[in-house]
Symmetry: C2
Subunit: 213 residues, 2 copies
């Protein structure tokens, strides 16, 4: 099973690495890290990931995982969405985490489908034609989308259960000891205080939109 | 604030990328990815991370984050533990995720301290002289350890609260939308079924111990 983990500049690494460390250890999985070139890709807080293949070289995948990042930049660039249009029809499962769903929408993958995204980017996803859900993980047909960043772990465990059954999926959860105990209860926009929401909305909107200036 | 994210071959990427995407976006943080050389480091399921500096070049850090991996290999090699002995005295906080705590123990950082690790490696941590806790996050003095893999997110949010206060830590939780909804409840050895525990214990012990063959 070939899994394509998509890389692009200023992506959020955890969006991708959560699903990678859930799915990548399963038997018979070959992970591919695919980008525009083989040069290291700089993530949004400085991590450098080295691709193993390029968009030009990879023309099929069994599973595609698209992380989030600065969507306006990536949409304007068009490289990722062009590749998604080419490879999505070959995939059994196409998935995204965070604003990765906006790239799926722009590539036509979410036409008539429900999908989720980072809480601060729901309007953008709606403007691209998807039916926006506020759920953490949304499956519609052969497409599974996860909400912001850490939701990729829940998305990938959901996919693991579909692909390989509950026992192995539960084992993968145990292997990464995913028994969360967040020290705070402010992980959703509904639960965080208005002070915290405003603080982060301001930072994120600047961040997501920096490319529009 | 200089944060050293330690890299070594066959490490588990999510151990490191959870804390990186919690701590790395905070104001005034400079993340450093430090390894034996500047060549890409291959993680245990194939991800390649490119270091930004080397153990030889980096002789101080404000915060150190040590991920887990194949501990017997890394202990036998000695490169990481030698570096930890040099740099730990310069750090305000020394932290680990998963079997990273066994490297802290071998470097003398956990002498007389409580610490946690991946559930399958508690015996190894005890054999290295630490007082083993089964808690998900353990703080003892200026050292914070997290349990297996995904516990790094909880560890890092705990540290963020200490470093920057509850409001920013809650904001960082909201930014990564960390409101977990695991599709299964098998994330700890106490909660998973015996069938699942046996499946994974067999796989992990082979994996952790492959270097001993």
């Amino acid at each position: 099973m070939d899994i394509a983990f998509v890389l692009y500049p200023d992506m959020t690494a955890l969006d991708l690495i959560g699903p990678y460390d859930v799915l990548g250890h399963a038997p018979d999985v070959t992970p591919h890290f695919v980008a525009a070139t083989l040069d290291p890709v700089r993530c949004d807080a400085g991590l450098l990931i080295t691709p193993t293949t390029t968009f030009e070289s990879m023309d099929r995948a069994d599973v595609i995982v698209v992380p989030g990042g600065k969507p306006y930049d990536v949409l304007a660039d068009g490289t990722v969405t062009t590749w998604l249009r080419k490879v999505h029809p070959t995939a059994t499962w196409t998935t995204s985490v965070c604003t990765g769903s906006t790239l799926l929408a722009a590539a036509g993958v979410l036409e008539g489908k429900r999908a989720t995204t980072h809480w601060a980017m729901r309007d953008l996803l709606a403007s691209l034609g998807a039916e926006v859900s506020t759920d953490r993980v949304v499956r519609d047909g052969q497409v599974i989308t996860g909400a912001g960043v850490s939701a990729g772990i829940d998305m990938a465990l959901t996919l693991a259960g579909i692909l390989w059954g509950d026992t192995l999926a539960q084992g993968l959860q145990l292997a990464i000891e995913y028994d969360p105990e967040p020290p705070y209860d402010s992980g959703s926009v509904e639960k965080a205080s208005p002070e915290v929401v405003n603080l982060i909305r301001g930072l994120l909107v600047n961040d997501f939109s920096a490319d529009r200036n």
